[in-house]
Symmetry: none
Subunit: 428 residues, 2 copies
């Protein structure tokens, strides 16, 4: 492909335009934009906007003009199929002041694709797909019938590729990303690392590392809260991978120093995966007895690859009857203290350990509020107990209200986090 | 809430702005925009643009100004949390020429949420969330700590709600949609009903009702496949609710006639909720023993409001040792037939029933493939057994391969569907 390497301006920015009325009707989720965003960031392009617009000529043209005016790199997906409402080809031509011209090479390629798929006749509509804006660079599409194209002028580039995810990904990887790297002489890269924490809430983390969030330029630090988990994201721009890794490592060390033992893992790690890894490394087995979490802790652990080597089984007993029948906790103890008590949690942990012969017993004792319309005035307490680590058991209690599945997730994560901290020797 | 009903202009348009650098980095998929798009369409609002912008003051302000200028309805999600990089509140104020003012009522509500969740201290950051643009209508958020707000001026409305999906959906349904309907006097409506099925696959359903999908105009019929579930969606446009309901009912009757007993529920129904409802109605109790599903069937049932009245407890035993120790299934039986066998499934179902005194025992016997890098050549069989319904037990087997959590979900749904069909007397 013919193109000129121009120096990448410092303020260079990219944007994505996804085209299709189905996106505005909410009929499909825009996973294309997510994928393209990841890819652009990975080659060091700053993505500043994502815009979705329907199959409407005027609005599509307006969005294209605005994007081309303000951003050096514009990537569009969708709207280059053979039907009447596929307008991206025409509107890119109009927005850049060009006419559409027929490309025999693209027509040949479309015919080959049709032949290879066993279709005997090509619809006249498909001929439309061989037209691209005058002077544009054609992008052959060996995996589909919609070719793409690149318009490259003094303002920057508009790259149009199909909306079919499989074809879009193929063309991004094979053509678009190599083109962008060469065209803009991109050497730099953006790299990020996510530090994961489940023990400390978002506002408290913000209090502890807020200055790093507001005052750091490269790397930057940001927070993303999930139910029961706060991710700390370190993002760095650098010319070389080694520099990026060093800058990330320095920031990571600062954050870890302020949040000792709070980071349970990074990037793709899960809390249950980390706990499973520690258990396997320490050659310890575990059994779980759960009341209000309904078996969620054991379920999370069950899918880890280490599960068969450490998970000795679990019992979910949500009512006093079940705690007695399945775990053999004495009725008297339940009558005296109630299910949601430290005493019952410890008894459950001891019983599941004894029943299974596991090294450790983890138990969760609490009562789920099934009636979400009548939340209790004070959040009901849940007791989490671990037996088998050292001579003493450990029992902690939390008050936690809200919808049933929210409470289950929070308590399950909390239980795994307590177990993790206990296993690494932080909790006595 | 105070607002004026103004006639809805013919050219009225809506747009969505989703705020967050994590969206531009491609770290999360923007499912919020999809949901809001569906909801706006359902009340007859035309969605023309969706824009995503990062946590950057100038760009966020620019996007807000453009949207407010061209669209009567602007909905933003994200950027109203307690941290430094939450800027939506400030930028909506700037874009509409207002200052931020403190709202004691919102602060009280934030404090109540913190109390109800058992947090003892509120971070100073959270105080920020009680500020909204002057003159804006506050949106209390009973399910989270970030209140929303509505700015309503001569150009139209800007509605800002949180980005946490659970909170966003709650506020859309309870506050935003009712507000928009009244504020713009929206009368025409789009209504839809979803028929849910877990027993029959997507292509088979397409074979059975394909003509209704391709040939119907109002209502339209569409399919949406999830793991273990295919939704049949009936969408109708009408001026009045009664007409919409009648058209939907006619189409629903046609579909149900062709798929007898396959539709387990509609709209917000869940398979576990339907099964729980039948069990409660039939006054039957249930206990569950699971191997490869790791407790997922019991967990799903545990959150239904009926759980305390029918769920007698569950055991997750993923290995032969656990099946012996926790359920008391004889070692000889396991040696002879293996864990993944009809005999062991039946023994597990009988044992969990006996241990708990439940009317019904449901058991799932199979071995999870934890090593996803080495999938087995033929998908491993799982045996599902139900005892206690009539004189005979029922046992079915399925071959199912794939990633661990995918297999768990598929088998759990299958087990609940078999139980449902057995309970309604379809399976003998």
């Amino acid at each position: 492909m013919p193109f000129i390497v121009r120096p990448s301006p410092l303020n260079m920015q990219a944007e994505i335009i996804t085209v299709g009325t189905e996106l505005l009707l909410g009929q499909i989720v825009d996973t294309n934009a997510t994928y393209i965003a990841q890819q652009l960031n990975a080659i060091g392009l700053n993505l500043f906007y994502k815009t979705t617009v329907g199959d409407n000529a005027a609005r599509l043209k307006g969005v294209l003009e605005q994007a081309h005016h303000r951003s050096q790199v514009v990537i569009t997906t969708g709207g280059i199929g053979p039907t009447e409402d596929d307008l991206t080809r025409e509107m890119v031509a109009e927005a850049t002041g060009r006419k559409l011209v027929f490309q025999q090479s693209l027509m040949d390629q479309i015919e080959n694709i049709f032949k290879s798929r066993g279709f005997t006749s090509i619809s006249p509509n498909n001929r439309k797909q061989a037209y691209i804006p005058e002077g544009a660079i054609p992008i052959e599409n060996p995996v589909g019938t919609a070719p793409g194209f690149i318009v490259d002028d003094e303002k920057g580039v508009i790259i149009s590729i199909p909306g079919v995810p499989f074809e879009m990904k193929y063309l991004m990887e094979k053509t678009v990303l190599p083109f962008l790297k060469k065209r803009f002489g991109l050497k730099g890269l953006i790299k990020y690392k996510v530090l994961k924490n489940s023990g400390i809430g978002e506002s408290k983390i913000d209090n502890i590392i807020g200055d790093l969030i507001t005052q750091s330029a490269n790397p930057t630090v940001g927070l993303l809260a999930h139910v029961g988990q706060v991710d700390i994201r370190i993002t760095v721009k650098a010319d070389e991978e080694a520099t990026a890794d060093r800058l990330i490592a320095e920031m990571e060390a600062k954050i870890r120093e302020r949040l000792p033992n709070a980071i349970f893992g990074t990037d793709q790690d899960t809390l249950e995966g980390v706990v499973a890894g520690i258990l396997k490394k320490q050659n310890r087995t575990l059994a779980v007895a759960e009341s209000n979490t309904g078996g969620l802790v054991a379920l999370k652990l069950s899918t880890t690859p280490e599960a068969p080597s450490f998970l000795r089984g679990s019992i979910a007993a949500m009512t006093e009857g079940a705690v007695t029948h399945l775990l053999g906790v004495p009725q008297g103890l339940l009558r005296e203290h109630g299910l949601a008590s430290a005493q019952v949690a410890e008894a459950m942990a001891s019983r599941i350990r004894a029943l299974t012969g596991a090294d450790l017993g983890l138990a969760i004792a609490g009562i789920l509020n099934w009636n979400e319309k009548q939340p209790p005035e004070t959040p009901p307490a849940t007791f989490i107990s671990i037996v088998g680590l050292g001579s003493d058991s450990i029992t902690e209690s939390y008050g936690m209200g809200g919808p049933a599945s929210f409470v289950q997730t929070r308590i399950a994560i909390m239980s795994l986090e307590i177990l993790r901290r206990k296993l690494i020797g932080e909790l006595k």
